[in-house]
């Protein structure tokens, strides 16, 4: 047996430290949102009504469910149920793809209505609405990028699990990918009510 250094708690703490910085990154955007909302309350309300609440709600359900499946995947691998772990990982990846497909249709419809950063139609709607949609595209876009990265990570871990590189004894990679995925869910928990649900 070779002697190797192993510190799963340290690995997890490293991931948490990274996630703290991710929260600060997204917070910058949410603070911009808060300041703009204070400056243009009525325009923000008008702009929010242009967003499709159904896409937002469906994507909320998709992300909450994917958070459940990846949490279950961690329990499954801890109990040595490799097959269930794989199924749960791939369901999570599938839900991430559903999320991105929804996003594609949602953004296509909005861009089709002339609502996108830099569009003349948007500029005519006034400063408040322009700020709302610029922030919306930037925040949701950055979030979408995180969805893509998180799904890729989980896919890679699933392949490694199938190959026996991630096992019921050594699964910190799955735990950390799951932590990243939960962060994606956390950001959406705030993004959804703030952008889609202002009356």
């Amino acid at each position: 047996m070779s002697i190797e250094h192993r510190d799963d708690t340290g690995d997890r703490f490293g991931m948490w430290l990274f996630l703290y910085t991710e929260v600060i990154l997204f917070s910058g955007l949410f603070i911009l949102y808060a300041v703009s909302l204070a400056n243009y309350p009525e325009q923000f309300s008008q702009a929010s009504h242009k967003l499709n609440i159904y896409f937002g709600t469906v994507n909320t359900l998709v992300l909450l469910t994917s958070s459940l499946t990846i949490a279950l995947a961690v329990s499954a691998i801890q109990m040595g149920r490799i097959k269930q772990t794989l199924i749960l990982c791939w369901i999570t990846v599938g839900l991430a793809i559903v999320f991105l497909i929804n996003k594609y249709f949602e953004w296509s419809a909005e861009i089709g209505h002339g609502i996108y950063p830099g569009s003349e139609q948007l500029a005519e709607m006034g400063a408040g609405i322009t700020v709302f949609f610029n922030l919306y595209y930037f925040t949701a876009g950055l979030h979408g990028l995180h969805v893509l990265i998180g799904a890729t990570l989980i896919g890679v871990v699933a392949v490694m699990t199938a190959k026996g590189k991630v096992t019921s004894d050594r699964y910190v990679l799955l735990e950390n990918s799951a932590l990243y995925w939960h962060l994606v869910d956390l950001v959406w928990i705030f993004l959804f009510p703030l952008y889609y649900l202002i009356l």
Partner: protein, 94 residues
């Protein structure tokens, strides 16, 4: 070894938390359709905070982690509060 890994959380716990998250989502949507003035945004943020706590403590296993992880979270939230506080101190009193 044993201190590096957690006891597996039963599936049931996670499913119950998921149901709670769905119920809270329904509450946010329902409340957002009623005009409460400025209160709307605070209800939305309050419910979102409850949902986040459920995700952080249960889904992300923070309950099972050592104090260090929780202190880290508190430090991060304090930095965030300072960040938000100072921004609004400037914006609101300009």
């Amino acid at each position: 070894m044993s201190e590096h890994t957690h006891e597996p959380v039963p599936y049931r716990t996670f499913i119950l938390i998921w149901v709670a998250l769905l119920v809270l989502t329904a509450i946010t949507i329902a409340v957002s359709r009623v005009d409460l003035g400025a209160l709307n945004i605070w209800v939305a943020l309050g419910v979102a905070s409850i949902k986040s706590s459920l995700v952080i403590f249960v889904f992300m296993h923070l309950r099972q982690e050592s104090k260090l992880f929780k202190i880290g979270l508190m430090v991060m939230l304090s930095i965030l509060a300072i960040f938000i506080g100072l921004t609004f101190f400037d914006v609101l009193y300009r």
